[in-house]
Point group: C2
Chain length 224, copies 2
């Protein structure tokens, strides 16, 4: 596939398009206009047309988009058809929740093994995923082509484990720890799920709204 | 606090600044320049100065930033000193993981109760948080001032539960379900943790890099 350099904002919108297209498919909708898509996603039709145009022509003027074809294209752009393989490190609550409830295969990723240090989980299997000892991790990485490491270890283990991962060829980390893994000039791709960042953004927006309300009320009082 | 309209990109960077400042505090660092901060975060010094200037003057030319003062300011901007109160709906794996491992109080939020439909968890307590029956939710929301609802219910329950929440005065939802809650013109603040969006972005970046490598190799082959 030929790729143009696409802006991060467009890339971040692609999974949202995918989710919406899956929703439409479930509802039996096979054709959608950029107007309808925009309205449902809170985007302008021209923004949607522009986003898709980054990857070639999908729609047809006046006919809208064919939902299954567009869905397949977006999935391919996201690499969902490339059979990426992942391991998960750290079978605590979050790791366990991901293994049990997050359907990796729905997104084209195969979770092949999990690793932990706790003797009571080593050797067990969750949702068909075997839990191996951390000591086996280096050899496992050397012998299997692993594209993604899901990092769900405690904070203190984040950096030492990252060193093992990158030292054995892992180039992409899905980071659930609250630790900033990115080092300057590192070639490792890191995608963070920072729960606290998300909560704090929400806290910011709540505060902003409260301040606006308070300011409005104060203005009304001065006038009245 | 007087607020100017601040761009979303700046707001998204604030929690990262906070984390970095906490890290510096742990290391005993009390003063940091925008150069150092930028290098550690992969941002330019001028971007950092510009971000902070949105909220007033923090630094002093030639002296850098005073870490504890800057940390306190960023925390205040994020609303961490406003004692927001939260409830959590859905004590499955993810809900359980959040109650047990995510330190809400570190971010200025008090988790006062959790709600579920499963008889075996109702009446129990996790990490000092009582789990109540979903049937009690409307009354609880009417009688307590709740700022944030943490939504960790199964997919099918997302919309019905959201209706209960917004019907009883909740104005902000921290959404862990894979369901798009935002309705056009809704006044509810929704902050999403979409695991799949995050994984798919990573999958995109891996694919982009693989394609670039393949294109380079092909060019080399043609030349050689």
């Amino acid at each position: 596939m030929k790729r143009l350099k696409v802006s991060n904002n467009v890339i971040r919108r692609l999974p949202r398009y995918l989710r919406k297209l899956d929703e439409l498919t479930e509802q039996g909708v096979t054709r959608v206009s950029s107007q309808e898509l925009g309205q449902q996603l809170g985007l302008t039709p021209s923004q949607i047309r522009q986003d898709f145009s980054c990857f070639g022509e999908f729609g047809q003027q006046g006919y809208g988009y064919h939902v299954p074809a567009l869905r397949a294209q977006v999935a391919a752009i996201l690499g969902m058809d490339r059979n990426y393989r992942a391991v998960l490190i750290g079978v605590g609550n979050i790791g366990h929740a991901l293994i049990d409830n997050f359907c990796f295969s729905d997104w084209g990723v195969r979770l092949t093994a999990a690793f932990d240090v706790k003797p009571e989980v080593i050797g067990t299997t969750f949702n068909k995923v075997p839990v191996l000892s951390m000591e086996e991790l280096p050899r496992y990485l050397d012998e299997n082509e692993i594209d993604i490491a899901v990092l769900t270890v405690p904070k203190d283990a984040a950096l030492p484990v990252t060193r093992i991962l990158t030292g054995h060829g892992v180039e992409a980390i899905w980071n659930f720890t609250n630790v900033e893994l990115t080092e300057p000039n590192s070639s490792v791709l890191v995608e963070n799920i920072h729960f606290s960042d998300s909560l704090l953004s929400l806290s910011y927006y709540i505060s902003e709204r409260a301040d606006e309300k308070a300011a409005k009320a104060a203005r009304r009082e001065r006038k009245g």
